[in-house]
Subunit: 287 residues, 2 copies
């Protein structure tokens, strides 16, 4: 019989999978085995350490429910979600960022100029900009699908038991003939990711906080263009330099300014804004 | 503000953890981030692929219970458990192998020569050998803690609802003044690891079987020596060349022979064996 040792076992495990040569499954599996077996060897991992890892994953599984995916949270706080967003950003397009756990694909359609704040307390901000291609050609009819936390850092979907409507603070806008979108809403506040589970324990072990800087979520779509999922942040805002989930990129940050000369923009607004915030999205063509 | 991209994010994530420089926690964490971020970049992992990984872990969590640890099973079938066993085997000592899920630390003490078969059907085999140090000095009083499946490949602990006693087919023997252990038992049969969950899906995706070759489990202890956890296998037995969890090493395989000249061994046996199987264990000193 053939023998295996700590250096030959990696090939033995790969060989045990009868994968199609060159298939994506084979590539992903072999790469994972190479990297994680190397890690285990390089670190000379002990039984106690390895069981610590496996029991940590077990604990993540035990706290997970259809509403709470602790493995996504783990991926977020270790920068994997951000890294996958970065890898999959197309050249010339707005950078991608976290989808997060609160997206609903059936948000209500809203009219340009509507107020998305749904009566929540806080600063009313005019959010506006253009959706274009990378040559700055406007993309009329582009869909701006947005959702956000309120002025206390809470998503209505998190407080449905307290009578909040999960569809509040979210909506789909259709850009006008100049590719413009505009609406007013309440300026969101920072909030924490859940830290009462194993991922929270990990954060505490590294003396890390669980805060995300305030942000607006977006999915931007247009026929023939690759959709982008991203978040927009506010310059100099709290936690914008140390987001717990590494969602911030410089290109996704813009300044909130006092509302000034709003009439000159020519928007018909349902509510008078205190502040204004401009951000243009750029889409790249689909493959 | 500073910016991050797909090449700088790894250091940013490391820096976010305020770990003690040079601590084991830091070493393990940084190493894991280096390897798995590199993997994600090298593979240019897509969102769908990454969510596939996270949902696979979620599914492993959902099927796990205090009695079923799907993450250990995952570690087993991907060779990590075997690799950790190999890394932690001491020079000169018997090679380590899987602890498995069925160990109980309060197995009954048995007298040398007792029958461990507890009336189970199958081949009665005399199991015997010595426990020594690496210079072949016997270790009298060494404890041989053993457990095994029956002649149908089942552990009694798995069939408690069907009236089986979980303490059957397991026991602790104390080696005699020559470091010898000996007992009779039923020759175990192969069995499958659980394959009705996500790990089973992974095995099927790679056209792999879930069988383990028949084996005897052991933990061997002696004061002043490092305990070993291992398994012993039977030469030419089914699945001994393709164990689903990579537990077999050449040094852990020995031949089952017809019982012959048993009287010459000088053992007082409770039951007459059909076959005999000799294996010597070697312990290395504690640190």
């Amino acid at each position: 019989m053939s023998d295996i040792n700590q250096f030959t076992i990696t090939e033995a495990v790969k060989d045990s999978f009868k994968t199609e040569p060159g298939s994506r499954f084979e590539t992903l599996l072999h790469g994972l085995l190479d990297h994680l077996h190397d890690y285990t060897r390089e670190m000379q991992v002990t039984h106690e350490e390895w069981m610590g890892v496996l029991n940590f994953l077990y604990d993540c599984g035990q706290i997970s429910t259809p509403e709470r995916h602790e493995f996504i949270l783990l991926s977020d706080v270790l920068g994997f979600s951000a890294l996958v967003d970065m890898i999959n950003t197309r050249g010339g397009a707005t950078e991608g960022s976290n989808l997060g756990p609160f997206y609903l694909d059936n948000a209500p359609e809203k009219t340009l100029g509507a107020d998305l704040g749904d009566g929540r307390e806080g600063v009313t901000v005019l959010v506006y900009g253009k959706v274009t291609d990378s040559l700055h050609n406007p993309l009329p009819g582009a869909i701006v699908d947005t959702w956000q936390a309120d002025g206390a850092g809470t998503y209505p979907i998190q407080e449905q038991e307290m009578g909040q409507d999960k569809m509040d603070l979210r909506g789909k806008f259709t850009c006008d003939e100049s590719g413009r979108y505009y609406y007013t809403t309440v300026l969101p506040k920072p909030y924490t990711v859940p830290y009462d589970g194993p991922v929270g324990r990990l954060l505490r072990a590294g003396d890390r906080h669980a805060w995300r800087p305030a942000h607006l979520h977006y999915i931007i779509r247009h026929p023939g263009m690759a959709a982008i999922t991203t978040e927009i942040f506010f310059e100099n805002a709290e936690y914008v330099d140390n987001d717990a989930v590494f969602g911030v990129r410089k290109s996704l940050v813009a300044r909130v300014k006092p509302a000034k000369n709003v009439a000159e923009l020519g928007f018909e607004l349902a509510k008078k804004p205190d502040a204004m915030f401009e951000y243009d999205f750029i889409l790249a063509p689909e493959d």
